[in-house]
Amino acid sequence: MSKILVCISNVPDTTTKITFTDNNTQFNTNGVQFILNPYDEIALARAIELTDGGKGSVTVINVGEANTEATIRKALAIGATDAVRINAKPHDAWYVAYQIAEYVKANPFDLILTGRESIDYNGSKVAGMLGELLDLPSVSIIKKLDATDSEATVEREIEGGKEVLTIPFPFVAGCAEGVAEPKIPNMRGIMSARTKPLAVVEPVEVQTLSEIISYETPAPRGQVNLVSADDVAKLVDLLHTEARVI
């Protein structure tokens, strides 16, 4: 395997308290720290492992405006060889997948990895859309990825179990926990990231298919009903008669 592409997203840190502005139509980014999407970190870590020792290269690609460059540099510091930023707002998964597919058509890769989903819009869509746009197999949520020269063996998550698949390269996969442990950049990585190539590519035009109209936050729950540790039977009774869930 010589060339791997890892698609990365710039997302709010996991500790972010999510709020909205403009009558709940805009995500409030004020004071929010943005990070490399945690699942993309897993995909990147596995890509680096698979190409370790000069066996190939890892390119990271992001669809975003200039403010995502800190996240892209982080990926370079972790160990990506080079980076591409498609200079556009990531309107929706279709828009992002279309831009990346256009880039890949001109610059083929042996393997394309994404995170299983981004932790902001949770679509799990880019991997499958890329597969369809490029007429390649796609596996949306993988827990394990092993490779030989010509094919990979992956474990796909299914309800209550797993499925083991072999797939010839090239293909697209969305990585979840289990594929690799995220890597922490070392000082040498951070220094070299500054000079690694980061190409900025202008987007192609494409019609959008969806639009976020507004946001809602979950309804607040009432006061907790505390039951004494000495009267556990009361909890069971409340779950049956009041909450009606058992």
Binding site: T15, G128, E132, G160, V224
Partner: protein, 325 residues
């Protein structure tokens, strides 16, 4: 115009989440005064196929052949897209299951359709606008998405729409499409599905535990309680990171999001990342020895107490309740 529902099976049997999706699709067909057609791929018994009519399917397309016996993402997406085209379906509904997450994006591209993944409510259709509410920010919020395309794909979150029985047995027709060789590049080597455990994303009750359990050797009590309640077991991130439990049980922002009727959290403090994954649970019970644990702020019921003292009592109380019920 019609609505097409992909009725997913697991090992030849339809699951509750499939009946939820059929009921949901029926309601959408009702909003549009159109018919609901179901499609099943694989080997499902004829009477089970016809029974989809109970939940509103007016016709069931059955695709059975050896190549499509098990899920092949590309091939299944091709078959469903062909069925949508052949039946003039402009709305395709599927379950937001693990397989569904593979199908929805491919269907979206094939049908040039906007995709609403993780839908949690029926669409609203006002003044030509078609909007769907879906989970966002890993359960910390919802987004209302307008699908601006003529065709639409909706993937419904399990446990977010009630099963509704509205009809009787539906006619079953065989449906076949010419399969492309390039749709079958992936080969299934093995399928491991535990039949004695409740699947976490579909579970109506989840018993979840955290570091308060002190070690993997103490999970017997968690499993006992889960078995009694017919629940799935889950855990917090530190527990799966420590290798006490498999990653597939990790619930939270970087794990699985669940929306059960009842979520019981034992020895979990309630970090914001964990709460994100469980916020759409209908009823939350928290058992923690620390009365200041943040989890109590989002709980409906709570017990302040040591898990090792409370759990045996809770197991006994549930046994007693089950015996009397």
């Amino acid at each position: 115009m019609s609505v097409l529902i992909y009725a997913e099976n697991a090992g030849g049997k339809f699951k509750k989440s499939t009946f939820e999706a059929v009921s949901y699709a029926k309601a959408i067909a009702g909003q549009n005064n159109t018919t609901l057609i179901a499609i099943s791929i694989g080997y499902v018994a004829k009477e089970d196929l016809a029974a989809l009519g109970k939940y509103g399917a007016e016709k069931v397309l059955n695709v059975s052949n050896d190549k499509l016996k098990n899920f092949v993402n590309q091939a299944y997406a091709s078959v469903i897209a062909e069925a949508a085209k052949a039946n003039g379906a402009d709305i395709v509904v599927i379950s937001n299951s693990f397989s569904g997450r593979g199908l929805a994006p491919r269907l979206g591209v094939k049908l040039q359709a906007g995709v609403a993944d993780g839908a949690v409510a029926l669409p609203e259709q006002n003044g030509g606008k078609f909007t769907v509410k879906k989970t966002a920010f890993s359960g910390k919020a919802f987004a209302v998405v307008e699908l601006t395309s003529a065709n639409k794909v909706i993937a419904l979150t399990p446990n977010s729409y009630k099963v509704v029985e509205s009809g009787s047995a539906a006619p079953v027709e065989d449906f076949s499409v010419e399969a492309k060789a390039s749709d079958f590049k992936e080969m299934i080597k093995d399928i491991v599905r535990s039949t004695d455990k409740v699947s976490l994303p579909d579970a109506e009750i989840v018993v979840s535990a955290g570091r308060g359990m002190k070690g993997p050797e103490n999970w017997g009590m968690i499993e006992d309680l889960a078995n009694l309640l017919g629940a799935a077991t889950a855990c917090s991130k530190p527990v799966s990171d420590a290798g006490w439990r498999p990653h597939s049980e990790h619930v939270g922002q970087t794990g699985i999001a669940v929306s059960p009727n009842l979520y019981i959290a034992i020895g979990i403090s309630g970090a914001i990342q964990h709460l994100a994954g469980i916020s759409s649970s209908k009823v939350i019970v928290v058992i923690n020895k620390d009365a200041e644990a943040p989890f109590f702020k989002v709980a409906d019921y709570g017990i302040v107490g040591d898990a090792f003292e409370v759990l045996p009592k809770l197991i006994a109380a549930v046994k007693e309740y089950k015996a009397s019920a």
